[in-house]
Amino acid sequence: MKILQSNAGVLTNYEVLALFRSRGAGKDPTCVIAAVAPSEFKVYDYLEQTVASHQTIEIIHKFVEDCEKYDLAKGVMLNIVNIRPSSAVEIDPVIFVKLLLFCCYLNTIVDS
């Protein structure tokens, strides 16, 4: 085995969920007929219980566009998309900068 590229791209929880859905994971309650392995079903079950199950690609693209003005790191934006914080205190552990000036940005990001 040879590792050509250890990081060939990051995926949001929504994209992984969409991958399993495209293989028929959500349409097979028996978890046998679909081309999805049992271990993949466990990941699918976890993602179905997260906010990713209610997201669409348009929502994620719009969020990324709206966040461009805040100059957030890609990892931070990815984390925000994955957990969808609904208050400033939930976004606090994601964004490590705790400057007083940034506090006013927190609520606007949450609103986005």
Binding site: M1, K2, I3, L4, Q5, S6, N7, A8, G9, V10, L11, T12, N13, E15, V16, L19, F20, A37, S39, E40, K42, V43, D45, Y46, T50, G75, N79, N82, I83, P85, S87, V89, E90, I91, D92, P93, V94, F96
Partner: protein
């Protein structure tokens, strides 16, 4: 949480798969090789994303099967340090918490990374269980079994494989340490250490 990794691997395609389309057969073989396995420093393989190329198909002397070299991308579970993830409580002891994502259960929150200040109480519903309770502004905030718990990734470790010993010597060692068979933890090739010691972390019910 999920990252794609590009891998090249040479694999032998068993003859009983020759009636299938080549990419389907190779994908099946790759899934049996990599799915639900931890690759060192890459993480836990969750799925085969796609196959980029398939070369070869040579039959080596003395072998009844063809050998292919495939380039493909795997979806790996590899959280980065500082990432905030939601999990469920799997175990609560005096050493800390063990959390689970369903497909990955080796997430530990040790005592130094628990929310401070805290106190512990015995958990009557679980044998040898401990209930962790965060104290804040005169209020008690317990960590319950039904809560969705958010933790921050403190570190991701890949312990080396243990050196295999004979069964007799292993049993003797564990008896000397006073461990019963069921208390010996199985080897975990990937261990995530999480932290709950920050605002916004811990059970989501605390912050609603």
């Amino acid at each position: 949480m999920f990252v794609m990794s590009e891998i090249e691997h040479t694999l032998r395609l068993p003859p009983h798969l020759l009636n299938r389309p080549l990419n389907v057969a190779i994908k099946g073989e790759l899934e049996s090789l990599f799915l639900d396995k931890v690759i060192g420093k890459l993480g836990l393989c969750v799925s085969v994303y796609d196959i980029l190329s398939i070369d070869g198909g040579f039959i080596f002397p003395g072998d009844g099967a063809s050998t292919y070299t495939a380039k493909f991308r795997l979806v790996m579970f590899r959280p980065y340090v500082g990432e905030v993830i939601s999990a469920r409580l799997e175990e609560s002891t005096k050493d800390g918490l063990r959390l689970s994502l369903g497909f990955f259960n080796d997430i530990y929150v040790p005592v130094p990374l628990m929310p401070n200040p805290y106190h512990i109480e015995p958990d009557p519903e679980h044998k040898n269980g401990i209930k962790w309770i965060w104290e804040y502004m005169g209020e008690n905030y317990p960590i319950d079994w039904t809560d969705e718990i958010r933790f921050s990734v403190h570190s991701v470790n890949y312990p080396p494989l243990p050196i295999e010993q004979g069964k007799d010597s292993e049993q003797k060692d564990s008896e000397e340490k006073g461990l019963r068979q069921k208390d010996i933890k199985p080897f975990a090739p990937m261990v995530i250490t999480g932290s709950l010691d920050a605002d916004g972390l811990g059970p989501t019910a605390w912050w609603v």
